[in-house]
């Protein structure tokens, strides 16, 4: 359910999910409301008047009774429950003059439908269950238990089935007991063959009829976060989702520090154990929620970057970090999950998406697989932004891919008050063009603790647009404002005063932070250019830009373009894919025909190393500017600036 909210006097409209916070809706619509407590209801500044529509709002609002009667509300404490019209009161400056409202400049483009990107898929998983009522042995018919099972199975398949083989001695050890205790009524879990001549494989036998319980787990092994979803493989339905911080984090925030840690005695084993621990946490959470046992999961598909994949398998990743940057392996074996320590039935297979190179991993292949770039004639730019920005450009005929070491700025690293997108992180920001006062939206609308990646984009673009900083990211030294000051690390802007922050510290953004951010976005942009150049193409040739990754889904397109982080092309060409890695694993787990297509996806992808590429270095230097030194690359931004 969605509702439309119209803000007056700006006359800005936005469609939001029912229940959305009104302050957050305003921020998304690009409507400035003075609010600096992050949405906690403390500052009491964000008063609005509800002109039309119902609202649910907290009665403890810091409002006078008279204000309440006049339908005044604190936006941060108000939630959208119908279509509404909301009026933002006029503000006056110290001299009593009405301040002009900042014109609407930015607006989050809501995600375009992904259906035509990812397509449909069937429920045709790599495993299946068959319930069998087996005739018990007699003197005249005393073939072995296993043959009896195989024969019953063949009959169940209408005799057309290929010879059935089976898995391993452990299964045989249990089989006779299960058959007899279940009175010869059992359910067989079958791993379906890949090759036409290959036999299907019996991987487990369960007493009674358990055909209604066929589960698969898709896992995205991220450097920071591991996510998992439980699928009902009978219906394709997502039953549960869970995620957890990768418990390797205490040994290093990024892949490089993990590699360094893995070289310490016992380090590799520790990291392997930690990521398995995290996956097991997810399995346990999901199983608790669904009241099933981990051994009810019949197949696991996982994807992770190359380093995560190596660490998960206990394979030393050290050569990834040393020139010429080779991974040990880029196609990973189909393992038994339990042999890695994963809580799973001993027969359960774990598939790990293949990587392309040291810094273009299985998570990217899974993403490409999910969005089917490999089967579309449209020239597509696929971007996964993180510490390492991975970029793929191409279509059904070819794909070039690379990773550029953007640095950790997008994930809060190298930023004085940087943090991940968790409670209290500033995720959206507006600045009043005259008062330079901020509008702060935090994750979970709690007191501000720091700045996450999407907040950083908002802050930099807003400061730039309000000319608080210049295109080189330097503060306008001529502005006199209490929030703009010389700090320990040079010039800074105070986002939240200590008295309103969770930490009681002033939360600021510094020139050093902005410089780090410019380097990060510059590396990404230079990456797009270098890949396109390498095939003699340019941004205008692009039919689509796909933003993958959880972070990608929070990027405000207009702002990201305005600071030169994304190419300045038709906004309708942009798609948000979300956690594409997990999506790819989910699709593969559900449909083995789609699963086979991963082979084509990966085969098309050609890696390009940027680290010693002189074109890349030139592009990079040119991109260390907001939005860019070559403004012809940013026509819409240029036009807007000219229109100011």
């Amino acid at each position: 359910m969605t509702n439309v909210v119209r803000f007056l006097p700006d006359d800005a409209e936005i469609r939001v999910e029912k229940g959305e916070n009104l302050l957050a809706a305003a921020a998304k619509a690009g409507v400035y409301i003075h609010a600096y407590c992050g949405g906690d209801g403390v500052c009491g500044k964000c008063k609005v008047k509800i002109k039309e529509g119902d609202v649910s709002s907290d009665h403890s609002q810091k409002l006078k009774a008279s204000e309440h009667e006049q339908a005044m509300r604190l936006a941060c404490q108000t939630f959208v429950t119908s279509d509404m019209v909301v009026e933002i009161p006029e503000e006056v400056n110290k001299e009593g003059k009405v301040l002009k409202r900042k014109p609407k400049t930015t607006r989050a483009i809501s995600a375009r439908s992904l259906d035509d990107l990812i397509g449909t898929w069937d429920v045709n998983p790599p495993v299946e269950k068959r319930f069998l009522k087996i005739a018990p042995p007699t003197a005249e018919d005393n073939i072995s238990d296993l043959q009896r099972l195989q024969r019953a199975l063949q009959k169940d398949y209408g005799g057309e089935m290929k010879a059935m083989t089976y898995d391993h001695p452990e299964m045989l050890r249990e089989l006779p007991f299960i058959l007899r205790e279940a009175d010869w009524e059992v359910t067989v879990i079958i791993l379906r063959c890949k090759l036409p001549e290959e036999p299907n494989r019996i991987i487990a036998v369960e007493p009674g009829d358990t055909t209604d319980r066929l589960y698969g787990l898709a896992v995205d092994i991220g450097t920071t976060t591991v996510g998992g979803i439980l699928l009902d493989l009978n219906t394709g339905e997502v039953l549960a989702e869970s995620s957890a911080y990768n418990a390797q984090i205490r040994y290093g925030e990024d892949v490089i520090s993990r590699i360094i840690y893995s070289q310490r005695p016992g380090g590799l084993e520790r990291l392997q154990e930690r990521v398995v621990y995290t996956i097991n946490e997810i399995i346990q959470a999901i199983c608790r929620e669904q009241v099933i046992s981990p051994s009810d999961i019949s197949y696991i598909m996982a994807a992770g970057n190359t380093i995560m994949s190596h660490l998960f398998l206990g394979v030393n990743p050290k050569w990834v970090r040393e020139a010429p940057y080779v991974p040990v392996c880029s196609q990973f074996p189909l393992t038994r999950a339990a042999t890695l320590g994963v809580m799973a039935h001993p027969s359960v297979r774990l598939f790990l998406y293949p990587a392309v190179a040291s810094y273009v991993g299985g998570d990217i292949v899974s993403g490409i697989h999910a969005c089917r770039m490999y089967s579309s004639p449209e020239l597509t730019l696929f971007i996964d932004i993180g510490t390492n920005g991975e970029i793929v450009v191409g279509n059904q005929d070819w794909m070039m891919c690379t990773a550029c070491s953007a640095g950790p700025a997008f994930e809060g690293g190298g930023i004085k008050y940087g943090m991940r997108a968790s409670s209290g992180a500033i995720e959206n920001f507006h600045i009043h063009p005259e008062t330079y006062e901020p509008m702060i939206i935090t994750v979970e609308q709690s007191k501000a603790r720091g700045i996450c990646g999407s907040g950083l984009i908002s802050i930099v673009s807003e400061l730039l647009e309000a000319r608080v900083i210049d295109p080189q990211g330097k503060f306008n030294r001529s502005l006199e404002h209490p929030r703009i000051r010389q700090g320990e690390d040079g010039y800074e802007y105070v986002l939240v005063w200590g008295k309103e922050s969770l930490t009681r510290e002033d939360i600021v953004i510094t020139e050093v932070d902005i410089d780090n951010f410019i380097r990060a976005k510059g590396a990404m942009y230079a990456g797009y250019q270098t890949l396109l150049d390498s095939v003699g193409m340019s941004f205008s040739d692009l039919d689509r830009v796909i933003l993958a990754g959880n972070f990608g889904a929070y990027i405000d397109l207009e702002r990201a373009i305005s600071i030169g982080m994304l190419p300045d092309i038709d906004r309708d060409k942009f798609y948000y894919l979300g956690n594409a890695s997990l999506l790819g694993a989910q699709i593969s787990l559900t449909d083995r025909v789609r699963f086979m297509e991963r082979i084509k996806a990966r085969a098309l992808m050609t890696n390009m190393e940027l680290s010693e590429n002189s074109d890349f270095m030139n592009h990079y230097m040119a991109a260390l500017f907001l939005p860019h030194t070559d403004m012809s690359l940013f026509p819409s931004v240029q036009k807007k600036l000219a229109g100011d």
Copy 2:
């Protein structure tokens, strides 16, 4: 090298291996020489005169100097080193009358050439090695270590090779270190694919060039003895052999007592561990001898009866013993040997021959596979004599098989002084038709300790022929002789007096022993008849009889036929196959084309249960006679008796 020995005055000739003991040669030729110490040189009775030829003989012979000068020797201390003519001195009875020599009645038929039975095979093993000099990675060529290895391998195969896959994470953990420590010169061990579309599989990588070391191990897992041979898979050559008593023996002599033990708490695990221990003993012995490491063995092929196969895999065999006698499994999985506890590289596969039924196991399938009954039009009777006598009859179009519980008589069980064929076991016996004095040959010509299976056949047939016992196995009560007496268990014949035996006890054969023996041979014979009857055939239809098993190789055909243990047909139709189970595994290990034929072999074999078969019971009752109640089945024996 063989030599011909001619014995006078009998004028019996025999061809023996150079170095054969002269007393043993005489026994094989059916020539009686009075000798009751077993060949230990103690009794000093076996004096012979060397008329022609060289001999090597022990100078400590109990002979007078004058005898020595007259070329007299103790046969038991003399070894054949050239063609010879040997004269047995005349014996006189108490009255000084020259005893007539017993005419030559029995003669071991030496094994017919097996070549046309087992055929030839190529050196085309399931594993192979390739030595690769790999170009190290560079910035321009930085594919993963594994891809680099795969690419080099593909080039080595002339590019024609199917996609190479690899084994398991353990391999990946070592790979980068091996490649770099070996300066990118490595040997790859490849498991060759079975299906045309299936990829070959890299199972291990070794530093440097180790292509000259490619070994396979064939193992026969017998209830009593486990045998192993090490093969050079580059040449097909047998490098070493070893065998050891199955260390399960302390938990029961036969399969039934092992099954019973396996039902005790921890019993199954103990038996599994014990058979693995035995195999490891063999591996260690072979590796010590060849100065190689167990991890140099690249493939293991094993065969055992159904119960041994279950116990080896740790699968409960209890249902084999309970009607309707079903095994858990009859086709065993290709396992990793190391997972069962076998000393082997973690990648090494262990193949276990499939069984047909509870009592027709992989050892029989391996034997049938070795002798290629499945590809010959000739009607063949295949016999493996042991506690359970396994019988197969058929040809390239069909095969019927069964097991008859002959009881342990052939292996020394149920026989008062029965023992296995080890040092001191009486393995050959002749009786003087007038004096009733014995000629005793023991294994390793040491002092007698007991009687093994082949000795038992000799004893029963000789006692029958000398009419010491009658066709029902009862002693001739009218004979008066110190060696024939009433003992604790009824009538008995003293084979060795206590003063000449190792144990200082009289070693005897009793009427009860003979009765047990008759039941055992009767069950075998009834088994042949029942199988032939079931397909409307008779002994005269047989083109070949193949005697498998170590015991089979020691059976004296004439004697075995004379007592009704083998069918009375043309002796030229008999073949000794020896340890056919081990031979099958050896062939499979060497030639994967032959290996594939096991599938046809097993598929042709149809099991028949005798335990409740009334035809079998009738045949069995009729066979409890020496040779048989129906003498028309034994025309040559009848003729000989008539000629007496």
